[in-house]
Symmetry: C2
Subunit: 318 residues, 2 copies
């Protein structure tokens, strides 16, 4: 198996397991959001974990589906909070339907995650359930911190920012790979390595995304350079910039939004060598991930699929 | 034990189990909504079920807490959808904090329900978990139907209306009593009787609430007579009225809101003998509940606590 074949295997499973019930107005948005595509990184991670542990693929598919349903629950609710109109080129659920339907279909998807896990009868059922519960709470915590940061209620430290992206993005990747591995009858002890690997991958991935937003041309990245600056996002770059040159950072961010504002801030950041600093930070997480990959290899597991996935991940954010 | 002592026992447990975590902005609303009081009917039902089965009260308290946390998750999210500013004389969560915090703290409470159930190690753990999952989905479905009805997207039949209030209100009462009974090591077979009893109690309770809104003086009920009429709610009375006198019902409901409108509609409903019809409908559910209570008694279980609770319930809606 390779990444494209895992992708296809999960999509086939997804198509064969649509949600249904009454009223249909509650279920249509659940199937809609799941149909919008994307790279399906989380279910693929679960299937990779399952394959590495040489497991029963049916158990892997159940875990893959649980993580993808969870991820899509969080997308529906996050889109309400972020006032986002578009998701993968299509209207978001609260725009296509309404806010009440978006809240309720999200709630019901969260319930369905636990429904899928309660029917799962592969290895390590209890452990997988408690991993999901832990991660579900952390994802809520991460999103709340992100909201707190953007409402200016709290100015995060660098550590608090990294903790926020760990919870908001990395832990679900960790849970996907770890629980997939457990579903393949992998040992609990070794499963921790897979979790830790995906956490570092997730942190690097999120920081790269922020890096690209500021330092990569729109022609290459496919999205407007400086979008985070215009949104006033409290990114790692913004926090570091404050730390090094508080006064100038504040002055520039108070300017009205314009291309000149973006240019001025990027100029400041380059003069402070923040691009270099950030690349070093990203390299640190990549290095940690590689060290763990090495340990995984030493334990006799094949790491080919993980290397393949890591390059798919860096293609662009999903 | 009697109802007030169950109430106190649960409140003590609640006070000893506050939620905590980071960021505190996510956890404060969870503790806030749980502190707002109310009759605590659902946890009391769980404790009664546990006591009737002569169970270990600690297991009963865990179930009691799970149902109360679930109920309060649904209150936070319903208050957003209903645009409600006040809950039990206090600001609702999305008013006191903001909408994002209300969505996220509600989500996290739903996760905590499954956290509590995953740590529960009393009898019938799997059965209780799957009951909660079933009921959680039904509560989402009931609320979605209620929203669909109020947005005029769908005009419900009488049957669809009753199904909506069964899901929105009755099933959680059923789950509370049944899972409490199971937590006390009660048999699965007999637990169904307790579920069915609470379902009929819940349906009667909800219809009584609608009856009171229209036919009981504010002096006695403590709330403005005809509130549902002004809100244009698709109640059982409205649906029956349409069924019997479509034209006049529509004409009166199209009038601008006023005390005269309320008077005219109540006059119509009394002339159609809807008050009598509704009392007969309520009596049917009460009779079913009593028949089940009789069966429970025949099986050798004490029903004193259930009779006591039923009179607490009818005092007023919680």
């Amino acid at each position: 198996m390779n990444i494209p074949s895992f992708h296809k295997t999960y999509l086939d499973y997804l198509n064969q397991h649509p949600f249904s019930g009454n009223p249909s107005t509650l279920y249509a948005p659940m199937n809609y959001i799941l149909s919008l595509g994307g790279k399906r990184i989380r279910p693929i991670l679960a299937l990779i974990g399952n394959e590495i542990a040489s497991g029963n693929i049916n158990h892997g598919l159940e875990i893959a589906h649980a993580v993808e349903v969870f991820h899509n629950f969080s997308l529906i609710h996050d889109d309400i909070m972020d006032n986002a109109d578009v998701r993968r080129g299509n209207p978001t659920v609260h725009v296509k339907w309404d806010m009440a339907t978006a809240i309720l279909s999200g709630d019901n998807m969260l319930v369905k995650v636990f429904h899928i896990l309660s029917k799962y009868n592969g290895p390590e059922k209890d452990r997988i359930l408690s991993n999901f519960i832990q991660v579900s709470t952390e994802v809520c915590e991460g999103q709340q911190s992100d909201m707190d940061f953007s409402s200016n209620a709290v100015l995060p430290t660098e550590l608090a920012y990294l903790e926020m992206i760990r919870k908001k993005t990395a832990v679900l990747l960790g849970c996907s790979l770890q629980c997939g591995f457990l579903s393949g009858n992998g040992s609990i002890e070794d499963s921790q390595l897979f979790y830790d690997y995906a956490i570092n991958l997730g942190l690097s991935f999120q920081l790269k995304d922020d890096f690209i937003d500021s330092f990569v041309d729109a022609e290459i990245s496919g999205k407007k350079q400086g979008g985070d600056i215009l949104e006033g996002k409290k990114t790692w770059l913004y926090l570091k910039s404050l730390e090094i040159n508080d006064e100038e950072t504040k002055r520039l961010f108070q300017l009205p939004n314009s291309d000149e504002k973006i240019k001025a801030i990027l100029l400041l950041w380059k003069s402070l060598k923040l691009d270099q600093l950030m690349e070093e930070k990203i390299a640190l997480y990549d290095q940690k991930a590689n060290e763990i990959l090495h340990k995984i290899n030493e334990k006799g597991y094949s790491t080919l699929l993980l290397s393949e996935l890591s390059s798919v991940l860096t293609e662009r954010k999903n």
